[in-house]
Subunit: 139 residues, 2 copies
DNA sequence: ATTAGCACTTGCAAAATGCAAGCAAATATA
DNA sequence: TATATTTGCTTGCATTTTGCAAGTGCTAAT
């Protein structure tokens, strides 16, 4: 683990995921149920292959994701969130809420509308589900 | 305003502040009461002068910050948050909480301990104060 | 055996970051 | 008044990261 810019938790966190792509990958796993490299590549933001590979590698090294060979196909990997990764959910939801409020070109869809109405409940709900999934993936 | 990668609110938000520095500047204003270019330069993370100037310019163009000449010194500028900027607080607090929980080298100080105990209340308290400050700065 | 799927890797160009010196206007000091 | 300091950038250059698109090697399907 390299030397940090400071001991501020915000700074240390931004050193991990303060870029334009990492939290998008986390979003794909948390909110869209994506699990594989190929699925992440298909997202509408069109991440570059080398950036995706690098981000996944860093997130895995940071203990946010784990990577397992698919049960159906030995050349395919499935990524899943660790508990540490799951706990990024409130950040992702807050970013989503802020974005929906201040970006006209980002209309709220179903989930966004629920978040507007009952944010805390949505967060708890997803945290429970994702933490359950994380425990299951660890088996 | 340029073309976005997608209409996902998370993606649009990350296009604005998804970098290693922007939210640190927001932190300095929100949590440390810093207001000037020179003060931001002094933070322990040591942002480069050209990066600071560029980030401030972008955040201002995005309507997150406003910049005014200091009342005491015509060569000095004071930055303050707009309501849009203030509403980044929950994101900053969630990042801080996550960082404190998962980074051993980032011990919780007074505010971090309060956040651990009563996050929602801290957020509401700071939102109220910062929104009041934002209204005052607009005069 | 051939083709397709899969997860990267690679070579290169463009863009961003980081370092440190420089610049011009305003203010403070001698 | 002249000089020094403060202030907020800007600039030149080297390094790093991002983005594009082709390439590679292993596994699976036909």
């Amino acid at each position: 683990m390299e030397k940090n810019r400071s001991d501020c938790p915000i700074s240390c966190s931004l050193e991990v995921f303060g870029d334009k792509w990492s939290l998008l990958i986390i979003r794909d796993i948390m909110l869209r149920g994506k699990v594989s490299y190929g699925e992440f590549l298909e997202s509408e933001e069109k991440i570059a292959t080398n950036i995706l590979a690098n981000r996944l590698s860093v997130l895995e090294a940071e203990g946010i994701l784990t990577k397992q060979v698919s049960p159906h196909n030995k050349s395919k990997y499935c990524y899943s969130l660790t508990p540490k990764g799951v706990d990024l959910l409130p950040i992702v939801i807050e970013i989503m809420d802020w974005g929906a409020r201040y970006h006209k070109q980002c209309p709220r869809r179903e989930l966004g509308k629920r978040i507007k109405k009952e944010k805390a409940m949505v967060i708890r709900e997803y945290l429970d589900k994702l933490h359950r999934d994380a425990r299951h993936a660890a088996l």
